[in-house]
Amino acid sequence: MTISQRRMSRRKFMIMGINAAGAGTGLLIAAPIVGSILSPLFYQRKQPWVLVADIQHVPVGVPTAYVVMLDQGGDAWQVPPVPRTVYVVKLNLDNQVQVITLSNVCTHMQCDVHWDINLNVFFCPCHGGEYSMDGTNIAGPPPKPLFRYEHKFVGTTLYVRNILTEGK
């Protein structure tokens, strides 16, 4: 092996060292940063039940909006609970009362929908989405029915919590 070849391999060794050290430095800095960026995906949120109303006071066949202080299970460092609108819909199907608790968040771009008394639909002012009384998407751009909050009864008192299920 000639001197120049040996010099070359020494040079190659150092270049490899530079690449390895550079990659290591980058990895050490990037790993915790990437972890912190992804952390919301793994954060456990507690979703407590929140009181809405006495179901006897909710009229049948008229979606009624309640502003509920939905504690987002302490979403990050959220201190005051976030107010959200829950539409309580009491339907009379074959003499059986069914209760659904709809989110007023449009499934298209998440604008705020409201029950339009004249049109008899949930209407979204952003892009003109429309939903029927049970939350089924009937017109405009929404791809899905309105989501539903989980609800339960304690006696006649209605509770919801901030866990959303797909509407039907």
Binding site: I37, L38, P40, L41, Y43, R45, A65, V67, V68, Q72, D75, A76, W77, Q78, V79, P80, V82, P83, R84, T85, N104, H108, M109, Q110, C111, D112, H114, P125, C126, H127, G128, G140, P141, P142, P143, N162
Partner: protein
């Protein structure tokens, strides 16, 4: 040698206001720091003589971006990036701190004017075919800068955390959830959770004041280095008769060209503008006047109209109709035109993606010879169509949102 003389003349000119100890100090510093050389490099170069007013749009863009950075820095003296205090801090500014309210107004109107000026700058470059070789990368870095400024515009509009900001942020972050495969995860990462929360604001605040500016500033540097490397192209008025000149005339023009010309590789005849002028003071004079006029406009709008602040964000809102910032109206209209299921990702990703890619590829799509717009209908007609399409979409959106 001539350059040496010119530089010492410049040094004398720069030290003229000083005498005695001051002049000695200047010379001492200059020998070590090279201020005179730097000023010389920055100010003395050849630029095209004709159409120079149109070429002031780039420097106007730069000045307004500097205005945005400076005004943004001082907004941070009061603004609190917290969902519970952001609105309160700006409401305080609007009612109890008149000067800060002007700074805030200038930051908003600076952004509005910036979009207009960038649009005109791009249009000017497009019409004059300045992106042709060797300046393809000037155009591409310019498009990247435009996208970064769009990102700054959208993230900035979220920060007041009033109704407009909250619902804009909601829609924008939900748009990304339609991205194939990882959409929902990206939305959660951007929001800091499945729903809008306290860390949604801190994220977009960090993106607005650090991440995007940290990308923007070096990209501006690259854009300017490329400008200096190839020299300013100008437009067709700077190349009248170059296609008819003889080989001898052409090579004489190339040989006599002042730095940074000739720009190589160029189409024959287009390496050097026919008539050159000095960057300083001829071009700088026009740049300074245009920038002054625009900053004056921004100042007046900030004082007279100011920046609006709607009511504080209310996630339980029932009847709030959010209207996107005017520069996003065409995109908002696409949301209506591509409804339901698989159509939505087409409207939010495929259509804008194709548009952006085509915009970026302009230097490679335009194979026309020459520079006159009327000799390049293959490019000018689609370009005109694209501009009209954006205006048409914006008009439809305005008609829909304001029930006109």
């Amino acid at each position: 040698m001539a350059q040496e003389l010119e530089r010492s003349a410049l040094a004398r000119k720069l030290t003229k206001p000083f005498s005695g100890l001051m002049a000695t100090t200047y010379r001492w510093v200059d020998e070590r720091l090279g201020v005179t050389d730097l000023v010389h490099q920055l100010l003395y170069e050849a630029v095209p003589r004709r159409g120079a007013w149109a070429y002031s749009l780039g420097s106007a863009t730069l000045i307004i971006i500097v205005l945005q950075i400076v005004s943004g820095m001082f907004l941070l003296w009061t603004y609190v990036p917290s969902t519970t205090e952001a609105w309160e801090s700006l409401n305080f500014i609007e009612h109890h701190d008149e000067f800060a309210a002007i700074v805030r107004g200038m930051h908003l109107w600076g952004a509005y004017v910036l979009f207009v000026v960038i649009g005109m700058h791009m249009l000017r470059t497009f019409v004059s075919g300045s992106y042709k070789k060797p300046r393809e990368l000037n155009w591409i870095t310019g498009v990247v800068l435009f996208l970064l400024v769009l990102g700054l515009g959208i993230t900035g509009s979220m920060l007041p955390w009033d109704q407009a900001a909250y619902w804009t942020a909601t829609v924008v972050t939900h748009i990304v959830s339609y991205f194939p495969l990882f959409g929902t995860q990206i939305e959660e990462i951007l929001r800091g959770g499945p729903q809008m929360g306290p860390d949604t604001l801190t994220r977009f605040f960090a993106i607005h004041i650090w991440l995007l500016p940290a990308l923007l500033v070096p990209m501006i540097g690259l854009h300017l280095i490329l400008l200096r490397r190839h020299g300013e192209h100008g437009s067709w008025v700077n190349y009248e008769g170059v296609e008819e000149e003889t080989e001898a005339e052409r090579s004489r023009r190339m040989a006599e060209a002042e730095a940074p010309y000739p720009a190589i590789p160029s189409d024959p005849g287009y390496a050097v503008p026919v008539d050159l002028d000095e960057f300083f003071p001829s071009q700088v004079f026009k740049d300074a006047l245009v920038s002054f006029a625009l900053v004056l406009l921004i100042f007046v709008m900030a004082v007279v109209v100011g920046a609006p602040l709607e009511r504080a964000a209310n996630p339980a809102a029932l009847n709030y109709v959010p209207t996107p910032e005017w520069f996003f109206l065409p995109l908002d209209q696409l949301l209506v035109q591509f409804p339901q299921a698989w159509m939505i990702p087409v409207g939010v990703f495929v259509v804008p993606g194709i548009g952006t890619t085509l915009l970026m590829m302009v230097p490679f799509l335009d194979r026309t010879p020459g520079r006159e717009p009327w000799r390049r209908p293959e490019v000018m007609v689609p370009g005109l169509f694209a501009v009209l399409f954006l205006l048409f979409e914006a008009m439809l959106a305005v008609g829909r949102l304001f029930n006109l």
